[in-house]
Symmetry: C2
DNA sequence: CTCGACACAAGAGCAGTGCTCACTTTCGCG
DNA sequence: CGCGAAAGTGAGCACTGCTCTTGTGTCGAG
């Protein structure tokens, strides 16, 4: 269909599309999602605003593209951080991934806001974004799985009323892990983004000062809650990421 | 100065101000913050859009007023839920407050988004909102304090590197509580909003089905992490708050 | 090599926004 | 009772997303 076989026309198209996304990302990073203006992008690119609609049917479609890219960028950063400590213990890897998420969020506040802040009202993320969005989650599941196969996991408590749901989630997310662990993992996943969001959105402002150390401790506790046993050696001080 | 003593003029002013906020809140609830339009509010109130600026110098100021109100509404809901179980154990009260936060968020999604979602970009919440914003936090601190004075608390772990910061936070937030507990409390506070936000913003969509039970369990674990010992009786099923 | 088709681009225009400003009306208070 | 300030008005500016009509540049088949 519109493969490279069609030649020059198609090449130009994907190049312009990329240029639009690039400029849009620039504006997003500079001013935030609400200030992102098609007309401004077109202006900066030296083209008529109407021409932009040949590439993105609407502003929301452009935003969707940026969202997918942001998820991928975050996922990549997390995976890179994980690979850098791939042979460390599960708890270390867990903390490394969490810190990567935090670092990425602090480095790309508006992109983070776009994907984990309030969804732009009146806008519903299409299913397209799901795979890109799952990368960090999969990473965490992988770490826990390794621990499960290796040193083993502590089983978090699970009330009886929640067991059916826990088993359902386990089947869907990680059939090889105990339902208790999967449940705790999902909760920890959400809680991680609570920690990051509160710091990013200023809720910690006159409250938490030593942000990095606080975060590191909190996510270590999260790991503990999932069943990963956190080694109590005083290792946290050295080798800061960022 | 502009007290009620000044009579009719001032009375009319606060009435119109209230009407504007009311209509604005209506639009906020219906369409979200970005769709809230001064002109639409004025239109609905049958006045010229420019007249609105006699009451709110800018759109942001109107939003700020709504934000403060939202914080107060949330705080009130949480306090009411707490008072309803005031003589229960600390863990029950903790869970009740958390559920109240969740219920309020699900019932007022756009208002919740306004205060705990991404702050409207380019907009910085003025210090005015701080007291209203603290109400839920104070409630949680109070519960933990009661437990501390009563049955006692388990001391959460605290790495040595974080102790100075923990002591600083304790001095500022709750000097009568152990620093370990205060630290865990701040983390739990952020994590609570991670749980609520993920559910509200659809991140749990094809993942968690039994939202209420899952949430209840998660926040109970949070309480545990703070040092509140969660009674293992099977009490969770009956007497739902909502 | 020519010519038609079609992707691409441009510009005007519509309806909407926040906000300002000069102006008129109204009404409470000295 | 009359003055002055507060309240309200409407036009207007610069901006937005988006549509529609009107060109153009270019590719590929005849």
């Amino acid at each position: 269909m519109t493969s490279t076989a069609h030649g020059v026309r198609a090449r130009a198209r994907i190049e312009v599309t990329a240029a639009i996304k690039e400029e849009a990302r620039r504006q997003l990073a500079a001013e935030g999602a609400t200030k992102l203006s098609l007309r401004a992008v077109a202006r900066e690119l030296g083209m008529a605003s109407s021409a932009l609609y040949r590439y993105f049917p609407s502003r929301d479609d452009l935003l969707t593209a940026l969202i997918t890219d942001a998820y991928d960028s975050l996922g990549e950063a997390a995976e890179a951080a994980h690979d850098a400590v791939a042979d460390a213990g599960p708890a270390e890897r867990w903390v490394a991934v969490c810190e990567a998420v935090r670092d990425w969020a602090l480095g790309h506040p508006h992109e983070y806001t776009l994907i984990y802040g309030s969804p732009v009202p009146g806008y519903n993320a299409p299913r397209t974004t799901v795979p890109a969005a799952s990368r960090v989650g999969l990473l965490l599941v992988g770490i826990v799985r390794d621990a499960h196969r290796g040193l083993g996991l502590a089983k978090p408590p699970l009330p009886a009323e929640l067991r059916p749901e826990a088993e359902r989630m386990a089947v869907e997310l990680a059939p090889d892990l105990p339902p208790e662990v999967v449940t705790a993992l999902v909760a920890a996943w959400a809680q991680l983004y609570g920690l990051v969001g509160f710091e990013l959105f200023g809720q910690f402002n006159r409250i938490v000062e030593e942000r990095e150390a606080f975060f590191r401790h909190a996510v270590a506790q999260l790991a503990h809650g999932v069943g990963l046993v956190y080694p109590q050696k005083g290792r946290a001080a050295k080798g800061a990421a960022s």
